[in-house]
């Protein structure tokens, strides 16, 4: 990858990666640090990464860096099969986006990550599996569970309205 291609990748993906991490960590400063860290690593390996593969490479790196950060801080435990809370109160949220945002925060880490990769970036199951080091069937299951949870939350709101 040339210097121009590297800079192009900054233009194209830095915002997306930042959004992806920010949605997960909900910490702007830390999200910024991770993005910078990822691009620093990319620059060090600039000769070994082709421009065609830079997007999954960057997302994968951001994903794993983020997981490392989370684990180090032990802020959120990554549990594969999380017991979804039944009694979440969304009464105070009127905007659908706000409700979804809150519901997303309630999702287990791994489900949130795959749903975000799917919806924000439109990655295929295969690509998400590569990025998150999961099997394709695992990705499908996590996406399914995440979507059903979000649907149920919205369903509850509609019932309340």
């Amino acid at each position: 990858m040339t210097v121009n291609e590297y800079n192009q990748s900054v233009d194209q993906f830095s915002d997306r990666i930042y959004r992806f991490i920010l949605k997960n960590l909900r910490d702007e400063e830390r999200a910024r640090d991770i993005v910078q860290d990822c691009y620093e690593k990319l620059w060090r390996n600039v000769d070994n990464v082709s421009f065609e593969k830079v997007k999954p490479y960057m997302f994968s790196m951001a994903y794993h860096t983020m997981i490392d950060v989370i684990r180090k801080e032990q802020r959120i435990s990554i549990v594969e099969d999380h017991q979804l809370p039944e009694d979440i109160h969304f009464d105070q949220y009127s905007d659908l986006g706000e409700v979804l945002d809150k519901a997303l925060a309630q999702l287990p880490e791994i489900q949130r990550l795959v749903v975000l990769l799917r919806d924000y970036e439109g990655y295929s199951y295969e690509e998400i599996a590569q990025i998150a080091s999961l099997s394709e069937s695992q990705v499908k299951v996590y996406i399914y569970r995440g979507r059903v949870f979000l649907k149920n939350v919205i369903g509850k709101i509609e019932v309340l309205v």
Partner: protein, 333 residues
């Protein structure tokens, strides 16, 4: 018990009945057991409807198909069948609608704030970039140095002794000595008209001129205090000239400052003050020369605005002339 439960076969039953006939006590016991029967309780399961099954799909299967439809995982045929199924099942159509609403949308307004930090430059651009940085730093350093140097220069220029040194051209010390000898001769001769010429010559020959001051330029540090006392007023003018010649004080202010800090040189003020203290009151020629030297100095400092006139070797008038102010003072001798 097996007989009562009907688990015995034909031959075994015959043998069991023969045995009972032979033992009447057991026959009575058997007859008692045969008469025992528990009443049938009428208890029914109340929630049979919940257990009934119909041909309808399970909720999990419904959700799974709906998610697959949403994700575009269904084949064309399955998609059409699912849509047809939704037409007849509005409650499931509503579920699919909720799923569609639950799809996340990226907030495009969120952008990475420090993108500039991520950009990299190629080697030539980087070279130019760092080169321009280095040039800017050098320029800044030069500007600071110039300002500092200018202030320093101003400080030096503001000192009268330096102005004198700057304005005075280097003069050969021998020429000055000759000139001073002639001046002294002019001054002395009219007052002592009765003295023979040979004595005048003898008097002028008394002027002690150190060899070091006459032939070579020396710094004050090299001169001994005894020698300094012997110097006549004429050498008071020689000294700054020599300093200018040798040390180039004006051209090298840093060196000048260094030398000044050593406090081994006399400033003109201190030198004159010392000379004034040491001169004999009766020695008029010496005091006169000192006054003239002082006026010369003041004239140089003021850019020749302060002048004096001599009459018969004595100062007769001091005048000060500027664009705003001009005056003259007659001097009594």
């Amino acid at each position: 018990m097996d007989y009562l439960d009907g688990k015995l076969e034909g031959k075994e039953i015959d043998r069991f009945l023969d045995f009972i006939e032979q033992n009447p006590d057991l026959k009575e016991e058997l007859a008692g057991i045969e008469g025992l029967k528990l009443p049938v309780e009428k208890v029914n399961f109340g929630n049979k409807k919940a257990l009934y099954k119909t041909g309808k799909q399970k909720p999990e299967t419904e959700n799974f198909t709906a998610v697959a439809y949403m994700e575009g995982d269904l084949s064309e045929l399955d998609r059409k069948l699912f849509l047809k199924h939704l037409e007849f099942h509005p409650e499931q159509a509503k579920e699919v609608e909720l799923l569609m609403k639950a799809r996340l949308q990226a907030d495009e307004t969120i952008v990475f704030p420090s993108k500039e930090k991520l950009y990299r430059r190629g080697f030539p651009k980087q070279l130019i970039y760092w080169g321009s940085r280095a040039a800017a730093i050098l320029l800044l350093a030069f500007a600071v140095w110039t300002v500092f140097n200018y202030n320093h220069w101003e400080r030096i220029v503001s000192q009268p002794e330096n102005i004198v040194l700057k304005n005075q051209e280097p003069i050969n010390s021998e020429e000055i000595i000759q000139k001073e000898k002639q001046e002294i001769a002019k001054v002395e001769i009219p007052e002592q008209t009765n003295i023979p010429a040979s004595e005048i010559k003898k008097e002028t020959s008394k002027i002690v001129v150190p060899e070091s001051a006459a032939k070579k330029t020396t710094s004050i540090t090299e001169r001994e205090p005894e020698t300094l006392d012997l110097i006549r007023p004429i050498l008071a003018q020689l000294e700054p000239v020599e300093r200018a010649q040798e040390n180039e004080l004006v051209a090298d202010p840093v060196r000048n400052e260094k030398e000044d800090t050593q406090s081994e040189y006399y400033t003109i003020d201190s030198y004159l003050a010392e000379k004034v203290l040491k001169i004999k009151r009766s020695d008029k020629s010496e005091s006169k020369s000192l006054i003239e030297s002082g006026l010369d100095l003041a004239g140089n400092v003021s850019g020749n605005r302060l002048r004096y006139e001599t009459e018969k070797g004595k100062i007769s008038k001091i005048s000060f002339d500027t664009r705003l102010l001009a005056f003259s003072i007659p001097v009594k001798n």
